[in-house]
């Protein structure tokens, strides 16, 4: 900008009296009149001349300029480009994440026009950073170089080993307890998170023979573990220890506690008053008979201390104490009394606490019978449990549950807590129930929405083709549109 133009602009801001009236070049048109008029017209001329005389700035030649490196990976299909454009416009976060996952899994790149939007979308979604960088390719790296603030967000940090990795190591070492592996486990013990210790304890519950070798770790946790969960596990493990005073006391106490239960597994346990146990464990009363209803919440919620103790018993101890020789006995439960429900609930908690999938599945089979008791089991504990057990285990459970006579739409409701797409078998298994409820207009929007978000594409396709031509209830219109959109996302990758 010339000094003349600068002085003109300055005068426009401060007022014409402040204009010193620097003389314009002689080839300028002669402008007369009062100062404001001269100021305005001089400025108009100056800026027209400046715009017309604009000179470009010199830059480094192309050969020296830094550009994005050529990509080695292939780009997604035009259909995938189109569908991403649509879901970005609609800000469908769930589908955008799914699209990124599908592209990353196939080692494909997003179209360059979408790379900035994907990078911006992921700015506050750190869990997606790796996958977004994957689908952004070299271009994404080059763009981040130009955007220092965003680059900082995406900066790849040296992540410490994840809890999942540490847990997997613990399980591997205990599965092959060589001297070397046990030494590695001991070395990791003081520095690892509580999840690591809990994985070790679960392994010990499955292999009690190792308890004598690692007794110091269990004892240590029992005395001074900072995690209450780990402490309970150590407590439970001590019951597997034949000469452990605390463990044996606990075992006896639980046996005595159970002895008070009437109508339990068809056994009639001798009622023996054991005040010592009650005092020691501060156990609340079991429901005495089936006529005593559980009104609000589950039994386990009403008796948290007892629940904690029973849950802590490793499954072998639990099954031994309760004289459950095999899981078939569970089938004997008629789910007729509150005791049965409470028992199943406790068993479920125990199986989950120790991650015993065999027991979980047995409970799941029995679970179906408890439909008359939906509140305590389905809505309270199960919701909590599902959020804690691994998705893999939960999916196995759900697969078992999804049978023709099961309440598929209810299961969908619980399973919707999982972000992972459901396996095809599970998804397809629920479709007939959905079609039935859709046809009879009893399907609610929340359940349909959950299924639409989580169904395997095969189930989406099956459902949509089955209902094609049928009138869509008004409350489901949006869900059906979303189902079609999600199916298009998947078909863009797997036509």
């Amino acid at each position: 900008m010339s000094t003349l133009q600068e002085s003109l602009l300055q005068a426009m801001i401060l007022g014409s009296p402040s204009w010193t009236g620097e003389a314009p070049p002689p080839d300028w048109p002669k402008i007369e009149g009062e100062a404001p008029r001269r100021l305005l017209l001089h400025l108009a001329v100056a800026q027209t001349l400046q715009a017309a005389g604009m000179k470009p700035r010199a830059f480094a030649p192309l050969e020296e300029a830094r550009s994005a490196q050529a990509e080695e990976k292939a780009q997604v299909s035009p259909a995938a480009v189109e569908v991403l454009q649509e879901i970005l416009r609609l800000e469908e976060a769930g589908l955008i994440g799914e699209w990124i996952g599908l592209a990353a899994a196939r080692n494909l790149l997003a179209h360059p026009r979408h790379v900035p939007e994907l990078l911006a979308w992921g700015e506050k979604r750190s869990a997606w950073h790796q996958q977004i960088l994957h689908v952004s390719g070299n271009l994404g790296g080059w763009l981040l170089e130009q955007a220092p603030t965003l680059r900082q967000t995406y900066l790849v940090r040296e992540e410490p080993p994840t809890i999942e990795t540490a847990t997997a190591s613990a399980e591997r070492w205990l599965a092959q307890p060589t001297e070397e592996n046990l030494a590695a486990l001991r070395k990791a013990w003081p520095v690892e998170a509580r999840e690591f210790r809990q994985a070790v304890f679960r392994g010990l519950a499955r292999n009690p023979g190792l308890l004598t070798v690692l007794s110091d770790l269990v004892e240590g946790s029992l005395k001074k573990d900072r995690s209450l969960e780990s402490k309970w596990q150590a407590f439970g493990l001590s019951t597997l220890w034949p000469d452990h005073p605390t463990g044996q006391a606990l075992r006896k106490a639980v046996e005595a506690r159970l002895a008070k239960i009437v109508n339990f597994f068809g056994h009639r346990w001798k009622l023996t008053a054991t005040e010592i146990i009650d005092e020691a464990l501060n156990i609340a009363q079991w429901p005495a008979t089936k006529t005593q209803p559980i009104k609000h919440g589950s039994w386990c919620q009403q008796h948290p201390q007892t629940t904690a103790i029973f849950r802590a018993l490793p499954p072998p101890v639990y099954l031994h104490i309760t004289d459950t020789k095999n899981f078939e006995q569970l089938a004997g439960l008629q789910m007729a009394s509150d005791s049965d429900v409470a028992w199943l609930e406790l068993l479920l908690l125990c199986a989950t606490f120790w991650m015993n999938e065999e027991l979980l599945l047995a409970v799941a089979l029995q679970w179906k019978k408890s439909r008359n008791y939906p509140k305590p089991i389905f809505y309270e504990n199960v919701k909590d449990l599902i959020s804690r057990i691994s998705s893999k285990t939960a999916m196995v459970m759900a697969d078992v549950l999804v049978e023709k006579d099961s309440n598929a739409t209810s299961i969908v409701h619980y399973m919707s807590m999982f972000p992972t797409p459901w396996p095809p078998q599970l998804s397809l298994g629920t479709v007939p129930a959905f079609v039935h409820e859709f046809t009879h207009k009893t399907l609610d929007r929340g359940t349909m929405g959950a299924a639409v978000r989580h169904w395997h594409p095969a189930a989406l396709a099956a459902f949509l083709s089955t209902i094609a031509g049928k009138p869509v209830p008004n409350n489901l219109t949006e869900s059906i549109v979303q189902a079609e959109r999600r199916l298009r996302v998947h078909r863009a990758f797997d036509p």
Binding site: L8, L9, M12, I13, L14, G15, S16, S18, E34, A35, P36, R37, L39, L40, L41, L43, A44, V45, Q47, T48, Q50, A51, A52, M54, P56, R57, A58, F59, A60, P61, L62, A65, R66, S67, A68, R89, L90, P112, R113, V115, P116, E117, L119, A120, E123, L139, W142, L143, Q146, A147, T149, L150, G469, K470, P471, V472, T477, E478, I480, V481
Partner: protein, 447 residues
Amino acid sequence: MLVATEIDRLAPDSASQTAGRGLAKPAKWECLARQETILWGKCQGSGKDPYLVRVDFGNPLGYKCTCPSRKQPCKHILALLYLLASHPQAYATDTAPDWVEDWLGNRRQQAERAQAKAAAKAAGDGPDTEAQARRIAAREEKVGVALAELRAWLEDVARQGMAKSALDQPEVWERTARRLVDGQCGALARRLQRMQALLADADGESLLARELSRMYLLLEAYGRQADLPEGLREEVRSLVGWTQEQASVLAQPGVRDIWCCLHASEEVQEDIVQHKAWLLGCASGRYASLLQFAHQSQAHTLQRLRVGTFLEGELCYFPSATPQRALIKAHAPVNRLPSWPVSGDHWAPVLERAARTWGLNPWENEIPALLTLRVHIEDGRLWLVDAAAQGLPARPCLRSGMHRQNLSGWTLAALSGGRPRPLFLTWNGSFAQVWSCQDSSQLIPLS
């Protein structure tokens, strides 16, 4: 017949699109039928009786629905069109029922009235010329008064200084613009209202000072119309608010060519939809800007153009010292797909053209150009660098980071990847605004 994307563009908003798609299921409709270019159907809504929906593909496209929605076209009309695109077999061929025939009859009558009016005008059977002259003289007087007030206001601002003129207060602009509207200077009022937004820019004060001075220059020019060349005089009058009759523009000889649409955008202001497009003649190398306006309810009458498409036809330019704005006189579909217009790769010819243009018409805002340039980002600023390594600044500024609201610049950077790409841009003397970018065989819009 329209394809789904064209129907999307007809929709007044995305909610209508979604609702329309949701209703585009044969099962939702009690009846679906067609007769030549007419479609109709009955859709059960929340009311007792089904809504009667009809569409006429005649010229112009027409539609009507008995639902109470204020949105036009409503979701039922959109659904009827989506259904035709997705399930054409769902439509039975039938004779139009009375409720369709009545509506078609009304449409025919309206078209006949419009034709008769146009024919009368063409035959010189217009309104009383003396009365017309009186009206023009009266308007000239009103315009004169309004411009004198504007001149005084601008001089006041220059005298007091922008800092003391309360220009950050919307009512100051509204009041001044209202006086211009009262004085029948609509174009000038709109220009003034747009200036207020400049203050939000980081460089706002200097941009505003320049715009105010350009407006003052316009008032000077209006006062000396008799001394101006004809083209510039027309331009100045048009910038003040005198409309140029489209019929007279179309009566002039046009430029025949195959035109490539390099930019198309749409914005809605106070129920008025403005469709803007930039075209480039493949053989003539001439640029043309098309501006169309319609009330939101009549938005379907706009001749919407899409970026990257071609049309073969004749365009007539509005009279101006530097003609850019044009009207489509006649057009036909392109039988063979022409090759892309060739882009330059140096700034120099564009800057020369810009200097010539501003020498003739200092109010020209945009100099269009199709150039192969590479994007360079430096301290969050965007530069467009030519084959001779000469660069000019471009908008938007990328300093604020990468956000959804600020992605066009980053999208441009991504499409370029730092390598030369054909870009369609407009240059305003301070910075370039890129509107589309050529990527392999397609033109990608950036606005």
